[in-house]
């Protein structure tokens, strides 16, 4: 898919922490004839935790996949720390060092143990020293509370445990932003909590997080800002307190009434 050149808006300019860490402007994305995103804009500041909610098929997953350049876009601009994602010459490695992503289906590498899953990318992609990576990986295992499971294969772990390994695997790349794509949707209700706790801790430590989620309680408690998408547009957004209590748009109200 050909992506029209966007104006050099920001590509070369230096990014400072005062500016949004992730800045999406007028993003359009279609799959064939189906327009999934019809001009979406959002800004995420450093250290913020942002939740994107909305009915399924409203384009929220596509939005964060575009941020990680897993989907290319038709027009608009996505800046990650000032780097334009919608750029044919994008250095994907540079982008992915900054942006970590966790998927709904964990997508762990089934032929590697938990610790190997965490260590693989820093060693093969970033060419970091093996011993240092191993040390850091052990810290991450502790952080996601999986001590003792280092040498288990993904197939031997529960869904929640696998998802925490997946989070640790992303953290091992020391990203500045973490994207979570419905990470609890495939989990048993009792393991959802342990994964959400891990994410909450991350957010509290100041990691910039963008979550696509259906966990309204979590969004209410942890998020700094909530975006509601429907039919490829951001219908409404705001801090959780105002969003959940004083939603203005009828579509948001309807959605919230169904889900709460």
């Amino acid at each position: 898919m050909a992506s029209p050149k966007t104006s050099g808006n920001g590509s070369g300019t230096k990014w400072t922490p005062k500016q949004p860490m992730v800045s999406v402007k007028d993003l359009h994305k279609s799959f064939g004839d189906l327009e999934v995103l019809k001009g979406v804009s959002m800004d995420v500041m450093k250290g913020e935790c942002v939740c994107i909610i909305g009915p399924s098929g409203s384009g929220k997953s596509t939005l964060i996949r575009c941020v990680n350049a897993l989907n290319d876009i038709q027009s608009g601009s996505i800046l990650v720390e000032g780097q334009e994602v919608n750029d044919p010459d994008l250095d994907k490695l540079e982008l992915r060092k900054k942006v970590g992503m966790v998927f709904q289906q964990y997508n762990l590498f089934p032929h590697k143990t938990a610790i190997e899953n965490i260590m693989m990318a820093p060693i093969t992609v970033l060419k970091q020293d093996k011993d240092e990576v191993a040390e850091y990986a052990k810290k991450l295992i502790k952080k996601v509370r999986l001590d003792g499971k280092e040498n288990s294969y993904p197939g031997e772990l529960s869904g929640g445990q696998q998802q925490r390994v997946a989070i640790a695997r992303s953290l091992a790349m020391t990203p500045d932003v973490m994207l979570f794509d419905e990470v609890t949707a495939a989990l048993d209700p009792e393991t959802v909590k342990e994964v959400l706790n891990t994410i909450q801790e991350l957010a509290e430590e100041g990691m910039t997080c963008i979550l696509v989620t259906h966990e309204m309680g979590f969004a209410n408690e942890v998020a700094n800002h909530i975006y509601f998408t429907d039919f490829g547009l951001i219908v409404e957004h705001g801090p959780p307190k105002t969003f959940f209590k004083n939603a203005k748009d009828p579509r948001t109200k309807e959605f919230l009434s169904q889900i709460l």
Binding site: F31, G32, L34, G57, N71
Partner: protein, 303 residues
């Protein structure tokens, strides 16, 4: 010579799963890969044209050979009937390859089905014996089996009142039918065992005896799924028939060598003649192989 020609296709059932349009577009990478499969891209005539092109390219490249000698293409045209069906009044050359393949398939199938049924017998000695026979002929190289029959089988059989001569090509038929038998035996066993045991149990509960169950319930169901591998083995067999040229059976490879010899073994003739040989085999085998793949797809969808 080799099994598992169907290795690549088992996975493709899900390709035509009807994804919603958006999703379909999303898996662009997958679509691209599927486009890359030979079935969608390479039609049989493409390969044939490519090979013909090669024959003529090489043939004309040497066209400036000494004037008194005929060009490779002329030589090929001259010898083509000889390679395809042998000298007049005889059936040999490539036609003999096909005749050998027919008979070997016939004998191999009959013996193979019998052996395969023995492999699922309730009697342990029958089961073990047929298993050993199957494994022996399945794991021996075809060429070794062929040599054994060609050299050790008598050239005539004396029945006391009449002496039946056994020409070389008939021995080749026997030699080829042995590995076919063993592999068909495995096909039969595999097909019967792939049926859910519920079929046996429900037949038993309806008071069918074992023989009735096998012939009236199990085998009719297996029949369909045995056809694609059976055709597949026919292809493998046909492509193995040139082996008997080693023992001088007058089939296509033997005659190609003879034709080349008659033309004075000119090196520039080699590419054209051997490519022609590959081409006629390809033209014969490829459609059959494709047909088997189509059948397999059709049957897997239905089952």
């Amino acid at each position: 010579m080799s099994g598992n020609r169907t290795a690549g296709i088992s996975h493709e059932q899900h390709m035509d799963v009807l994804l919603p349009i958006a999703h379909k577009q999303q898996s662009q990478a997958m679509i691209e890969r599927l486009e890359g499969t030979f079935r969608l891209n390479l039609q049989p005539h493409h390969a044939i044209w490519m090979m013909l092109l090669f024959v003529f390219a090489v043939g004309s490249a040497h066209a400036q050979a000494p004037k008194e000698l005929i060009s490779p293409i002329e030589a090929l045209v001259k010898w083509m009937p000889f390679i395809l069906w042998g000298p007049e009044g005889e059936i040999s050359g490539f036609a003999l390859n096909i005749i050998i393949s027919f008979f070997a398939m016939l004998f191999g199938t009959v013996a193979g089905v019998a052996l395969g049924l023995m492999q699922i017998s309730l009697l342990l000695p029958v089961r073990t014996g047929s298993w050993i026979v199957t494994q022996f002929f399945r794991n021996s190289p075809w060429l070794v089996l062929l040599f054994t029959i060609m050299l050790l089988f008598p050239f005539e059989i004396d029945l006391g009142f009449v002496v039946i001569p056994v020409p070389d090509w008939m021995k080749a038929v026997i030699g080829f039918s042995l590995p076919v038998m063993a592999n068909i035996s495995e096909v039969v066993r595999g097909a019967v065992q792939s049926l859910p045991t519920g079929q046996w149990e429900s037949a038993e509960s309806l008071a069918f005896n074992r023989r009735q169950t096998l012939w009236m319930i199990i085998l009719p169901q297996c029949f369909k799924r045995m056809i694609p591998p059976w055709i597949n083995w026919y292809c493998i067999l046909t492509m193995s028939t040139p082996l008997c040229s080693i023992m001088g059976v007058e089939e296509s490879v033997t005659f190609t060598a003879q034709a080349l010899n008659a033309e004075g073994d000119r090196p520039e003739l080699l590419p054209v003649f051997y490519m022609f040989l590959l081409l006629i085999h390809f033209i014969y085998t490829y459609p059959i192989a494709r047909w088997s793949i189509q059948l397999e797809k059709k049957f897997t969808v239905k089952l």
